[in-house]
């Protein structure tokens, strides 16, 4: 068994499941937003603000943001562990990969906090 401490769920199955579920959430959000915009051709600012300040919409948006964050974490972790490895670029790879991974995790979390601030600031 191969172990890794920087993957999101620590287990392959958990990461795989989170990636799938988050993809469904993002798809549902995209369909909803595109559908809403198409069904409301003359959208006013008041309508848009009312939609986004309602609690269910805030929850849906937050769920989507968390899904994007989790999906990005898993995806970026895969990309980084594919290409920044000791096999491919030598012994400095481990330190470099940890820096990139922690940087990626920090940026992802900051985006989530920022998004919460925006959502609840409407």
């Amino acid at each position: 068994m191969v172990t890794n401490v920087t993957s999101l769920g620590r287990s392959g199955l958990s990461d795989w499941l989170i990636a799938r579920v988050s993809a469904y959430v993002m798809t549902a959000y995209l369909i909803f937003i595109v559908g809403y915009l198409m069904l409301t051709p003359e959208l006013s600012y008041t309508q848009w603000a009312a939609l986004n300040s309602s609690l269910p919409m805030r929850m849906f948006s937050l769920l989507t943001i968390l899904s994007i964050a989790a999906h990005a974490w898993i995806g970026m972790w895969c990309v980084l562990t594919d290409y920044i490895t000791v096999r491919l670029i030598g012994p400095k790879a481990t330190a470099l990969r940890i820096i990139f991974q922690l940087g990626m995790i920090a940026i992802t979390l900051l985006y989530v906090i920022w998004a919460i601030d925006i959502l609840w600031g409407i």
Binding site: V2, R10, G12, L13, C78
Partner: protein, 234 residues
Amino acid sequence: MLNVSIYRYNPEVDSEPYMQDFEFDTQGKDIMVLDVLEKLKIEDPTLVFRRSCREGVCGSDGMNISGKNGLACVTPLSSVVKKNKLVIRPLPGLPVIRDLVIDMSQFYAQYEKIQPYMINDTPAPAIERLQSQEERAKLDGLYECILCACCSTACPSFWWNPDKFIGPSGLLQAYRFLADSRDTATEARLSNLDDPFSVFRCHGIMNCVQVCPKGLNPTKAIGHIRDMLMRTAT
């Protein structure tokens, strides 16, 4: 005349690999790629490749033929020659020992990891462990693998992490034992696979299915392993 371009590399002589061109007269016949190599080897005895049974059973002559992995002995020229040119390279992703011969240690190390043998700790019956026809049928499409490595060396996930990702061939074999009604180590086998690399580096691009010379479907077997992991997960 058919133009044949072959990857050459002899680490004792060459500083780096190069492609060597040969002219080959097929006499209008649709022969196998291995036949071409055999005849060219008579012309140039320094050309090195593996071969044994010459009928797609031993899995020795896996190579990259005009961009696609396959067994030279069962690949007719008509299926791979484009614009009168045949390009032959070693299987990608593993170290080259010489010309078309690759070092398959990493491939075998992954195969060894999945414990490719029956594990059954119950007392052996007098004659043999029986299976119903339905139980036996579950092994079809799994046991036929000849370990030619065409699939694993066509898989980018295996190229980048051959030390961590089991690869399509190893996983097909892993499922062959997981699916076997006579094997009692299912739980232990599954717990050895539930990490982010061993199985889950498969992103389902199905290169393995496209190249398998035996027409097997490792992606489907990997899907079954995922289902089994899901069922046993708490």
